[in-house]
Amino acid sequence: MRVLRMAAAAVAILAVVGGAEAKDWSKVRIGTEGAYPPFNSLTADGQLIGFDVDIAKALCEEMKVECEFVTSDWDGIIPGLQAGKFDAIIASMSITEERKQKVDFTNKYYNTPPAIAVPKDSKIAGTSDADLKGIALGAQSSTTHSNYAEEKLPSADLKLYPTPDEYKLDIANGRIDAVVDDVVVLSDWLATDDGACCKILGTLTPDLVINGEGAGIAIRKEDGELKDMMNEALAAILANGKYKEINDKYFTFDVYGG
């Protein structure tokens, strides 16, 4: 009988957990990475800051919901969303076809092109595949930038890093000859002391299939309601000047893009 009772208890627990799925969105958990300045990063005392974080806070305020931030490794961020560890990803995630097969996206909330950075004394002439032949090119894994390098720059020797912090170390010490990432992320890093080693070689022409139409908010496919709420809130902060206020806090140009 003990086994039966245990089974009954298990069923009851499952029912309770399942019942909690009946969703009211008074509280939304936002997943982000926390290693992608200036969009999202952690301060020394563990506070999340950045453009993504401020946009998320503005959206939550607009939707009148309570938001809680959860940080996740970039590699595991989509599985984390699917497993219900958080309800939305606001982490500069580009809206691509590959990802759309797994999750839904809101409209874009910014769009900036990728770029390549090299050491200041680099002899690399340009950003074409022929120019980059045989050089060690670093990128963060599971990103549109690493996919771009794999597809469009096959002659380069691609090295994948878990976060941008590691490729920054390796280009500074000369293990790799170039890195590819978002132009804003690279510029922000080059402006710091750590980025003194390097310069922007040039921006790349984004490929619509690989790079997508900009960064959006990823939502589980079954949560259409939350997606609509986010889209409305996004339109609202774009209209009422809140977006511009956040934009100007971080950038001297418009990141929303055309």
Partner: protein, 303 residues
């Protein structure tokens, strides 16, 4: 009806009653659940192999079977996971073998002087050897790898001036270096333990027969020590194989690196299942080889 034994005429005792208790029913239900899950998983994974199997079978088929198979190959969209990433897995597997093989080899070579120093009666030798083993067994392999890869990376000018930068620049050399140091500490302890396990009487007996120390060591002590050391060595190799997955995070495309890359493009969990299957196959092969070696080494003990 159970027939009586023809020789004695006695009937066997009646079978014990095995009623369908709640526990038994639950057990069967749970077992059925796992069996169904297992079958589902297998068919899901083997779906990847349909095309290669059909292509292999095609020359041996005739009549409507041939039509069916060639139709299916021609019309069905075989965009299977293995079809796209199978080659990557094989190259990753080879890189993993290379990393583990080289590290174990260098580690074994290093472990001999370390073990000798560790069991030396001179403290000037045994203390540093002890510290070395203490450090490498007491800290995570991941931390050691990062220390070597990123730590040495920040001393580029110094390393360049002594002409060692080419070595530490390459992630592959770094990982071999880190893994060799790590495994040499473990192997030194295995070796030392096994040699010290042989009783002093063996040394004394050999001395009484007038054998020199090297001859005693290689012909009498070492063969016996290897019997003791064999299983721990096998464990260490298995730990190394699994530990080698760390190489993936310092940009090496080993089995785990390729797995992560495939997963990041597909978000398909079978990426990790295939990796687990390949790691299991390596370990299982090693286990079988080890059984053979043990049977060979202990053949004089079998009665």
């Amino acid at each position: 009806m159970i027939a009586p034994n023809p020789r004695t005429g006695l009937k066997p005792p009646p079978l014990a009653k095995r009623p369908w208790t709640a526990t038994k029913i639950t057990g069967h239900v749970l077992m059925a659940f796992w069996a169904i899950s297992g079958v589902y998983l297998l068919t899901y994974l083997l779906g990847n192999l349909e095309k290669p199997i059909l292509e292999l079978a095609l020359p041996f088929l005739s009549g409507e079977w041939e039509v069916y198979a060639s139709d299916r190959i021609a019309t069905h969209k075989f965009d299977s996971f293995l079809g796209r990433y199978g080659d990557k897995y094989i190259s990753g597997f080879l890189v993993t073998l290379k990393i583990v093989g080289l590290s174990l080899l260098f580690g074994a070579a290093l472990s001999i002087p370390i073990a000798a120093a560790r069991s030396s009666k001179w403290k000037i030798l045994s203390r540093p050897a002890y510290a070395y083993v203490y450090f490498f067994r007491g800290t995570p392999l991941l931390a050691q790898t990062f220390l070597i890869y990123y730590g040495f990376g920040s001393f580029r000018p110094e390393l360049q001036s002594i002409g060692l930068w080419w070595f530490f620049r390459d992630a592959f050399y770094c990982i071999i270096f880190a893994f060799s140091l790590n495994t040499s500490a473990y192997q030194a302890e295995i070796l030392r333990g096994a040699v010290q396990n042989i009783s002093r009487g063996q040394w004394e007996g050999a001395q009484a027969l007038g054998l020199s120390k090297p001859v005693t060591f290689f012909k009498i002590i070492l063969p016996q020590a290897l019997m003791v050391a064999l299983r721990p060595y096998g464990n260490e190799i298995i730990l190394m194989i699994k530990g080698s997955a760390i190489a993936a995070i310092i940009t090496i495309y080993d089995l785990m690196g390729e797995t992560r890359r495939a997963y990041s493009r597909t978000y398909d969990f079978q990426a990790y299942i295939w990796a687990a299957v390949i790691y299991l196959m390596i370990v299982e092969t090693l286990r079988r080889v080890w059984d053979r070696i043990e049977a060979r080494l202990t053949r004089h003990l079998i009665r």
